[in-house]
Protein backbone atom coordinates (compact mmCIF):
# COMPACT_ATOMS: atom_id res chain seq x y z
CA UNK A 1 0.00 0.00 0.00
CA UNK A 2 2.62 2.46 1.13
CA UNK A 3 4.80 1.88 -1.89
CA UNK A 4 2.05 2.85 -4.27
CA UNK A 5 2.25 6.29 -5.78
CA UNK A 6 0.16 8.97 -4.10
CA UNK A 7 -1.91 11.04 -6.49
CA UNK A 8 -2.09 14.70 -5.50
CA UNK A 9 -3.36 17.72 -7.34
CA UNK A 10 -1.33 20.70 -6.24
CA UNK A 11 -2.34 24.16 -7.39
CA UNK A 12 -4.22 22.56 -10.23
CA UNK A 13 -1.38 20.35 -11.42
CA UNK A 14 -1.77 16.60 -11.13
CA UNK A 15 1.14 14.71 -9.59
CA UNK A 16 1.77 11.10 -8.84
CA UNK A 17 4.31 11.04 -6.08
CA UNK A 18 6.28 7.81 -5.92
CA UNK A 19 8.21 6.05 -3.16
CA UNK A 20 6.67 8.00 -0.32
CA UNK A 21 7.39 6.31 3.02
CA UNK A 22 4.43 5.84 5.32
CA UNK A 23 5.56 8.37 7.93
CA UNK A 24 6.23 11.15 5.42
CA UNK A 25 4.38 14.39 6.07
CA UNK A 26 2.60 16.34 3.40
CA UNK A 27 4.92 19.22 4.35
CA UNK A 28 8.00 17.26 3.26
CA UNK A 29 6.36 15.90 0.13
CA UNK A 30 5.47 19.39 -1.00
CA UNK A 31 8.85 20.88 -0.16
CA UNK A 32 11.32 18.20 -1.07
CA UNK A 33 9.59 16.05 -3.68
CA UNK A 34 7.56 18.71 -5.49
CA UNK A 35 10.01 21.53 -4.82
CA UNK A 36 7.32 23.84 -3.44
CA UNK A 37 9.39 25.55 -0.76
CA UNK A 38 6.87 28.30 -0.17
CA UNK A 39 5.22 26.09 2.44
CA UNK A 40 7.37 26.68 5.49
CA UNK A 41 8.68 24.29 8.06
CA UNK A 42 8.49 25.77 11.55
CA UNK A 43 7.82 23.77 14.70
CA UNK A 44 6.62 20.53 13.04
CA UNK A 45 4.26 20.12 15.97
CA UNK A 46 1.15 21.98 14.91
CA UNK A 47 1.91 24.92 17.15
CA UNK A 48 3.05 27.63 14.73
CA UNK A 49 0.93 27.35 11.59
CA UNK A 50 3.81 28.13 9.21
CA UNK A 51 3.09 24.96 7.23
CA UNK A 52 -0.61 25.48 6.64
CA UNK A 53 -1.85 24.57 3.17
CA UNK A 54 -5.35 23.97 1.85
CA UNK A 55 -6.40 20.34 1.57
CA UNK A 56 -9.65 20.17 -0.37
CA UNK A 57 -10.17 23.80 0.48
CA UNK A 58 -9.62 23.48 4.22
CA UNK A 59 -6.67 25.05 6.03
CA UNK A 60 -4.60 22.10 7.23
CA UNK A 61 -1.36 21.70 9.15
CA UNK A 62 0.80 19.92 6.59
CA UNK A 63 3.30 18.96 9.34
CA UNK A 64 0.61 16.85 11.02
CA UNK A 65 -0.75 15.30 7.84
CA UNK A 66 0.58 12.07 6.40
CA UNK A 67 0.91 12.26 2.64
CA UNK A 68 -0.51 8.77 2.33
CA UNK A 69 -3.61 9.88 4.19
CA UNK A 70 -4.64 12.46 1.58
CA UNK A 71 -4.50 10.59 -1.74
CA UNK A 72 -6.41 12.36 -4.47
CA UNK A 73 -6.61 15.58 -2.49
CA UNK A 74 -6.72 19.01 -4.06
CA UNK A 75 -3.88 20.91 -2.42
CA UNK A 76 -3.37 24.65 -2.55
CA UNK A 77 -0.06 26.19 -1.52
CA UNK A 78 1.26 29.73 -1.43
CA UNK A 79 2.62 29.24 -4.95
CA UNK A 80 -0.92 29.07 -6.37
CA UNK A 81 -1.68 31.54 -9.12
CA UNK A 82 -4.35 34.22 -9.14
CA UNK A 83 -7.00 31.66 -10.07
CA UNK A 84 -7.62 31.01 -6.36
CA UNK A 85 -9.72 34.06 -5.63
CA UNK A 86 -9.56 33.63 -1.86
CA UNK A 87 -5.77 33.47 -1.83
CA UNK A 88 -5.68 36.46 -4.17
CA UNK A 89 -7.88 38.47 -1.81
CA UNK A 90 -5.73 37.67 1.19
CA UNK A 91 -2.55 38.47 -0.72
CA UNK A 92 -3.95 41.83 -1.76
CA UNK A 93 -4.99 42.67 1.80
CA UNK A 94 -1.56 41.69 3.17
CA UNK A 95 0.22 43.72 0.52
CA UNK A 96 -1.94 46.76 1.07
CA UNK A 97 -1.46 46.68 4.83
CA UNK A 98 2.19 45.67 4.79
CA UNK A 99 1.17 42.70 6.95
CA UNK A 100 4.49 40.91 6.81
CA UNK A 101 8.08 41.40 7.81
CA UNK A 102 10.47 38.47 7.59
CA UNK A 103 7.74 36.63 5.72
CA UNK A 104 8.39 33.18 7.13
CA UNK A 105 4.95 32.90 8.73
CA UNK A 106 3.25 34.64 5.80
CA UNK A 107 2.36 31.57 3.67
CA UNK A 108 0.69 29.97 6.69
CA UNK A 109 -1.31 33.08 7.50
CA UNK A 110 -2.38 33.55 3.89
CA UNK A 111 -3.55 29.95 3.51
CA UNK A 112 -5.23 29.92 6.93
CA UNK A 113 -7.26 33.01 6.09
CA UNK A 114 -7.92 31.83 2.55
CA UNK A 115 -9.18 28.56 4.02
CA UNK A 116 -11.63 30.46 6.19
CA UNK A 117 -12.81 32.40 3.14
CA UNK A 118 -13.32 29.12 1.33
CA UNK A 119 -15.32 27.82 4.29
CA UNK A 120 -17.41 30.91 4.76
CA UNK A 121 -17.40 32.61 1.41
CA UNK A 122 -17.87 36.33 1.50
CA UNK A 123 -19.64 36.19 4.84
CA UNK A 124 -16.44 35.61 6.82
CA UNK A 125 -16.65 37.79 9.89
CA UNK A 126 -13.76 39.62 11.49
CA UNK A 127 -13.98 37.48 14.63
CA UNK A 128 -13.92 34.22 12.68
CA UNK A 129 -10.96 35.34 10.62
CA UNK A 130 -9.09 36.41 13.74
CA UNK A 131 -9.89 33.13 15.46
CA UNK A 132 -8.50 31.22 12.50
CA UNK A 133 -5.36 33.38 12.36
CA UNK A 134 -4.95 32.88 16.12
CA UNK A 135 -3.40 29.50 15.36
CA UNK A 136 -0.53 31.07 13.43
CA UNK A 137 2.49 32.53 15.19
CA UNK A 138 4.27 35.63 13.95
CA UNK A 139 7.29 37.01 15.77
CA UNK A 140 7.87 40.14 13.70
CA UNK A 141 4.70 42.12 13.17
CA UNK A 142 3.05 41.96 16.56
CA UNK A 143 0.01 41.00 14.47
CA UNK A 144 -1.08 44.63 14.19
CA UNK A 145 -0.81 44.85 10.42
CA UNK A 146 -2.21 41.33 10.08
CA UNK A 147 -5.26 42.41 12.06
CA UNK A 148 -5.61 45.41 9.75
CA UNK A 149 -5.45 43.07 6.76
CA UNK A 150 -8.13 40.89 8.37
CA UNK A 151 -10.33 43.92 8.90
CA UNK A 152 -9.93 44.77 5.26
CA UNK A 153 -10.97 41.23 4.30
CA UNK A 154 -13.97 41.35 6.61
CA UNK A 155 -15.27 44.64 5.31
CA UNK A 156 -14.25 44.94 1.68
CA UNK A 157 -17.27 43.15 0.26
CA UNK A 158 -19.95 44.61 2.43
Amino acid sequence: MTDAAVPLTVNGHAHSVRDVPGPERLLDTLRWRLGLKGTKEGCRSGACGACVVLVDGRATLSCLTLTHDVPGAQITTIEVGPEDAAVARVRAAFAQEGALQCGYCTPGFVLTLAGLLHERGRRAAREELLEAAGGNLCRCTGYAAIVRAVERLATEDR
Binding site: T2, P21, P23, G46, T60, D69, A132, G134, G135
Partner: protein
Protein backbone atom coordinates in the same frame (compact mmCIF):
# COMPACT_ATOMS: atom_id res chain seq x y z
CA UNK B 1 11.43 6.70 13.97
CA UNK B 2 10.46 3.31 12.69
CA UNK B 3 8.72 3.24 9.37
CA UNK B 4 5.25 1.90 8.81
CA UNK B 5 2.89 1.45 5.97
CA UNK B 6 -0.43 3.15 5.79
CA UNK B 7 -3.63 1.76 4.43
CA UNK B 8 -7.21 2.95 4.53
CA UNK B 9 -9.64 0.05 4.71
CA UNK B 10 -13.08 0.69 3.29
CA UNK B 11 -15.13 -0.68 6.16
CA UNK B 12 -15.03 -0.93 9.94
CA UNK B 13 -15.02 -4.67 9.59
CA UNK B 14 -11.91 -4.50 7.43
CA UNK B 15 -10.14 -2.26 9.97
CA UNK B 16 -10.99 -4.62 12.80
CA UNK B 17 -9.84 -7.60 10.75
CA UNK B 18 -6.56 -5.86 10.02
CA UNK B 19 -6.10 -5.04 13.70
CA UNK B 20 -6.68 -8.66 14.62
CA UNK B 21 -4.37 -9.88 11.93
CA UNK B 22 -1.56 -7.59 13.03
CA UNK B 23 -1.86 -8.59 16.68
CA UNK B 24 -1.36 -6.29 19.68
CA UNK B 25 0.89 -3.35 18.85
CA UNK B 26 1.22 -4.43 15.24
CA UNK B 27 -1.28 -1.96 13.87
CA UNK B 28 -2.70 1.36 14.99
CA UNK B 29 -5.83 3.11 13.80
CA UNK B 30 -5.32 6.69 12.66
CA UNK B 31 -8.06 9.29 12.82
CA UNK B 32 -6.97 12.93 12.56
CA UNK B 33 -3.45 12.06 13.69
CA UNK B 34 -2.89 15.35 15.47
CA UNK B 35 -1.82 13.54 18.63
CA UNK B 36 -0.86 10.06 17.43
CA UNK B 37 1.82 11.35 15.06
CA UNK B 38 3.88 12.60 18.02
CA UNK B 39 3.98 9.09 19.46
CA UNK B 40 4.89 7.65 16.09
CA UNK B 41 7.70 10.18 15.71
CA UNK B 42 9.08 9.52 19.15
CA UNK B 43 8.73 5.78 18.81
CA UNK B 44 6.39 5.50 21.79
CA UNK B 45 4.26 3.42 19.46
CA UNK B 46 5.91 1.58 16.61
CA UNK B 47 3.30 -0.33 14.61
CA UNK B 48 4.16 -1.89 11.30
CA UNK B 49 0.78 -0.84 9.93
CA UNK B 50 -1.18 2.34 10.38
CA UNK B 51 -4.83 2.00 9.46
CA UNK B 52 -6.40 5.27 8.41
CA UNK B 53 -10.06 5.55 9.32
CA UNK B 54 -10.70 8.19 6.68
CA UNK B 55 -12.87 5.96 4.49
CA UNK B 56 -15.20 4.86 7.28
CA UNK B 57 -18.69 6.36 7.15
CA UNK B 58 -18.29 7.86 10.58
CA UNK B 59 -17.86 11.54 9.81
CA UNK B 60 -21.36 12.09 11.00
CA UNK B 61 -23.39 14.34 13.20
CA UNK B 62 -26.82 12.94 14.01
CA UNK B 63 -29.75 14.08 16.04
CA UNK B 64 -31.83 11.22 17.42
CA UNK B 65 -34.87 12.24 19.41
CA UNK B 66 -33.26 15.62 19.88
CA UNK B 67 -30.02 14.21 21.26
CA UNK B 68 -26.62 14.49 19.61
CA UNK B 69 -24.50 11.62 18.36
CA UNK B 70 -21.08 12.48 16.97
CA UNK B 71 -19.31 10.12 14.60
CA UNK B 72 -15.85 9.39 15.92
CA UNK B 73 -13.99 10.59 12.83
CA UNK B 74 -15.93 13.80 12.32
CA UNK B 75 -13.45 16.69 12.34
CA UNK B 76 -14.01 18.86 15.40
CA UNK B 77 -14.33 21.85 13.10
CA UNK B 78 -17.57 20.42 11.68
CA UNK B 79 -18.94 19.94 15.17
CA UNK B 80 -18.31 23.51 16.26
CA UNK B 81 -19.82 24.78 13.03
CA UNK B 82 -23.18 23.20 13.77
CA UNK B 83 -25.47 25.94 15.14
CA UNK B 84 -27.54 23.49 17.15
CA UNK B 85 -24.51 22.13 18.95
CA UNK B 86 -23.66 25.66 19.93
CA UNK B 87 -27.09 26.41 21.41
CA UNK B 88 -28.02 23.01 22.80
CA UNK B 89 -24.65 21.86 24.14
CA UNK B 90 -22.91 25.14 24.97
CA UNK B 91 -20.31 23.51 27.21
CA UNK B 92 -19.41 21.06 24.46
CA UNK B 93 -19.18 23.86 21.91
CA UNK B 94 -16.92 25.85 24.20
CA UNK B 95 -14.65 22.87 24.84
CA UNK B 96 -14.41 21.88 21.17
CA UNK B 97 -13.48 25.33 19.96
CA UNK B 98 -10.73 25.48 22.53
CA UNK B 99 -8.93 22.42 21.20
CA UNK B 100 -5.85 23.72 19.37
CA UNK B 101 -6.27 26.00 16.40
CA UNK B 102 -8.88 26.08 13.65
CA UNK B 103 -6.44 24.33 11.31
CA UNK B 104 -5.79 21.62 13.89
CA UNK B 105 -9.54 21.09 14.32
CA UNK B 106 -9.92 20.53 10.58
CA UNK B 107 -8.30 17.15 11.25
CA UNK B 108 -8.62 16.44 14.96
CA UNK B 109 -11.54 14.22 15.95
CA UNK B 110 -13.51 13.48 19.07
CA UNK B 111 -12.92 9.76 18.69
CA UNK B 112 -9.19 10.34 18.53
CA UNK B 113 -9.25 12.60 21.56
CA UNK B 114 -11.05 10.04 23.69
CA UNK B 115 -8.98 7.08 22.54
CA UNK B 116 -5.71 8.95 22.98
CA UNK B 117 -6.88 9.86 26.48
CA UNK B 118 -4.34 12.58 27.25
CA UNK B 119 -4.43 13.68 30.88
CA UNK B 120 -4.69 17.30 29.71
CA UNK B 121 -7.52 16.60 27.25
CA UNK B 122 -9.91 19.52 27.07
CA UNK B 123 -12.71 17.36 25.68
CA UNK B 124 -12.88 14.55 28.21
CA UNK B 125 -14.10 16.79 31.10
CA UNK B 126 -17.13 17.97 29.15
CA UNK B 127 -17.84 14.44 27.94
CA UNK B 128 -17.79 13.33 31.57
CA UNK B 129 -20.03 16.19 32.69
CA UNK B 130 -22.49 15.48 29.88
CA UNK B 131 -22.41 11.76 30.66
CA UNK B 132 -21.47 10.90 27.09
CA UNK B 133 -21.50 7.28 26.04
CA UNK B 134 -19.27 5.61 23.50
CA UNK B 135 -20.42 3.17 20.89
CA UNK B 136 -17.54 0.73 20.42
CA UNK B 137 -17.27 -1.38 17.33
CA UNK B 138 -15.50 -4.72 17.56
CA UNK B 139 -15.42 -8.18 16.04
CA UNK B 140 -18.32 -9.25 18.24
CA UNK B 141 -20.38 -6.23 17.23
CA UNK B 142 -21.10 -3.18 19.30
CA UNK B 143 -20.91 -2.41 22.96
CA UNK B 144 -21.57 0.75 24.85
CA UNK B 145 -19.51 2.26 27.61
CA UNK B 146 -19.69 5.58 29.38
CA UNK B 147 -16.69 7.87 28.90
CA UNK B 148 -16.21 7.71 32.67
CA UNK B 149 -15.71 3.94 32.49
CA UNK B 150 -13.83 4.03 29.19
CA UNK B 151 -11.02 6.38 30.22
CA UNK B 152 -9.09 4.66 32.97
CA UNK B 153 -5.79 6.50 33.15
CA UNK B 154 -3.22 8.63 31.43
CA UNK B 155 -3.17 7.31 27.88
CA UNK B 156 -5.12 4.25 29.08
CA UNK B 157 -8.62 3.22 28.08
CA UNK B 158 -10.87 0.17 28.06
CA UNK B 159 -10.58 -0.03 24.28
CA UNK B 160 -9.68 -3.56 23.22
CA UNK B 161 -6.88 -3.97 20.69
CA UNK B 162 -9.33 -4.89 17.95
CA UNK B 163 -11.97 -2.29 18.77
CA UNK B 164 -12.79 1.14 17.38
CA UNK B 165 -14.84 3.99 18.76
CA UNK B 166 -17.69 4.39 16.31
CA UNK B 167 -19.51 7.31 17.87
CA UNK B 168 -20.03 9.41 20.94
CA UNK B 169 -23.63 9.71 22.04
CA UNK B 170 -24.83 12.53 24.24
CA UNK B 171 -27.93 12.51 26.40
CA UNK B 172 -30.64 14.99 25.56
CA UNK B 173 -29.59 18.62 25.63
CA UNK B 174 -29.12 20.20 28.99
CA UNK B 175 -27.44 23.27 30.39
CA UNK B 176 -23.68 22.89 30.41
CA UNK B 177 -20.52 24.98 30.62
CA UNK B 178 -16.78 24.62 30.15
CA UNK B 179 -14.24 26.93 31.81
CA UNK B 180 -10.48 26.84 31.61
CA UNK B 181 -7.31 28.57 32.68
CA UNK B 182 -4.15 28.56 30.59
CA UNK B 183 -0.69 30.07 30.75
CA UNK B 184 -1.46 31.65 27.39
CA UNK B 185 -5.17 32.22 26.92
CA UNK B 186 -5.13 31.53 23.18
CA UNK B 187 -4.23 28.19 21.67
CA UNK B 188 -2.72 26.48 24.70
CA UNK B 189 -3.42 23.47 26.89
CA UNK B 190 -5.42 24.13 30.04
CA UNK B 191 -3.79 24.17 33.45
CA UNK B 192 -7.19 23.36 34.88
CA UNK B 193 -10.49 22.85 33.07
CA UNK B 194 -13.91 22.49 34.66
CA UNK B 195 -17.03 21.22 32.94
CA UNK B 196 -20.46 21.30 34.50
CA UNK B 197 -23.86 20.10 33.37
CA UNK B 198 -27.29 20.17 34.93
CA UNK B 199 -29.90 17.53 34.24
CA UNK B 200 -33.39 19.08 34.57
CA UNK B 201 -35.11 15.70 34.59
CA UNK B 202 -33.58 14.55 37.85
CA UNK B 203 -32.38 17.98 39.04
CA UNK B 204 -28.80 16.74 39.48
CA UNK B 205 -25.46 18.23 38.54
CA UNK B 206 -22.32 16.70 37.19
CA UNK B 207 -18.99 18.41 37.73
CA UNK B 208 -15.83 17.25 35.96
CA UNK B 209 -12.28 18.52 36.18
CA UNK B 210 -9.28 18.33 33.86
CA UNK B 211 -5.67 19.09 34.59
CA UNK B 212 -5.70 16.43 37.28
CA UNK B 213 -3.76 13.20 37.30
CA UNK B 214 -3.92 10.61 35.98
CA UNK B 215 -6.99 11.55 33.94
CA UNK B 216 -9.89 14.01 33.90
CA UNK B 217 -12.49 12.91 36.42
CA UNK B 218 -15.93 13.55 37.77
CA UNK B 219 -16.27 15.14 41.19
CA UNK B 220 -19.51 13.66 42.54
CA UNK B 221 -18.79 15.06 46.01
CA UNK B 222 -18.79 18.56 44.57
CA UNK B 223 -21.83 17.90 42.42
CA UNK B 224 -23.80 16.72 45.44
CA UNK B 225 -23.57 20.19 46.95
CA UNK B 226 -25.58 21.49 44.01
CA UNK B 227 -29.30 21.00 43.53
CA UNK B 228 -31.83 22.55 41.23
CA UNK B 229 -31.19 24.77 38.23
CA UNK B 230 -30.04 27.79 40.21
CA UNK B 231 -28.11 26.68 43.29
CA UNK B 232 -27.60 29.33 45.96
CA UNK B 233 -24.19 31.00 46.24
CA UNK B 234 -23.41 29.20 49.47
CA UNK B 235 -23.94 25.83 47.81
CA UNK B 236 -21.80 26.86 44.86
CA UNK B 237 -19.11 27.96 47.28
CA UNK B 238 -19.26 24.59 49.04
CA UNK B 239 -19.05 22.78 45.72
CA UNK B 240 -16.02 24.86 44.78
CA UNK B 241 -14.35 24.13 48.10
CA UNK B 242 -15.02 20.42 47.80
CA UNK B 243 -13.69 20.41 44.25
CA UNK B 244 -10.55 22.15 45.40
CA UNK B 245 -10.09 19.68 48.24
CA UNK B 246 -10.87 16.53 46.28
CA UNK B 247 -9.15 17.09 42.94
CA UNK B 248 -6.05 14.92 42.61
CA UNK B 249 -3.75 17.66 41.37
CA UNK B 250 -0.01 17.48 41.03
CA UNK B 251 2.60 20.13 40.26
CA UNK B 252 4.03 20.14 36.77
CA UNK B 253 5.44 22.57 34.25
CA UNK B 254 2.06 24.15 33.63
CA UNK B 255 1.12 24.96 37.23
CA UNK B 256 1.76 24.08 40.84
CA UNK B 257 -0.62 21.87 42.75
CA UNK B 258 -1.68 24.69 45.05
CA UNK B 259 -2.36 27.07 42.19
CA UNK B 260 -4.48 24.40 40.53
CA UNK B 261 -6.52 24.07 43.72
CA UNK B 262 -7.06 27.80 43.72
CA UNK B 263 -8.06 27.72 40.07
CA UNK B 264 -10.47 24.84 40.32
CA UNK B 265 -12.44 26.61 43.02
CA UNK B 266 -12.96 29.72 40.93
CA UNK B 267 -13.56 27.77 37.74
CA UNK B 268 -16.26 25.67 39.42
CA UNK B 269 -18.00 28.84 40.57
CA UNK B 270 -17.77 30.29 37.07
CA UNK B 271 -18.89 27.15 35.30
CA UNK B 272 -21.91 26.67 37.57
CA UNK B 273 -22.83 30.30 36.97
CA UNK B 274 -22.66 29.75 33.21
CA UNK B 275 -24.69 26.54 33.30
CA UNK B 276 -28.02 28.01 32.30
CA UNK B 277 -30.93 26.69 30.24
CA UNK B 278 -30.50 27.11 26.51
CA UNK B 279 -32.65 29.65 24.71
CA UNK B 280 -35.65 28.11 22.92
CA UNK B 281 -34.72 26.10 19.87
CA UNK B 282 -35.01 28.01 16.69
CA UNK B 283 -36.80 26.49 13.72
Amino acid sequence: MATFDLSAPESPEAVVAALRAAGPGGATPLAGGTDLLFDLDEGRVAPAHVLSLRRLPWRTLDWVAGALTVGSTLPLRALEDDPQVRTLYPGLYEAVRNVGSVALRQRATMGGNVVRSAPASDLIPILLALDAELDLFGPQGSRRLSVDRFVIGSRRTELRPDELVRSIRFPEPRPSAFCWQRVRPSNDISQVAVATAYSPSDRTWRVAVGGVQPRPRLLPEAARELTGPDPPPAAVGRAAAVAAARSPFVSDRRASEEYRRRLVASLVERAVGLTRPAPPRSA
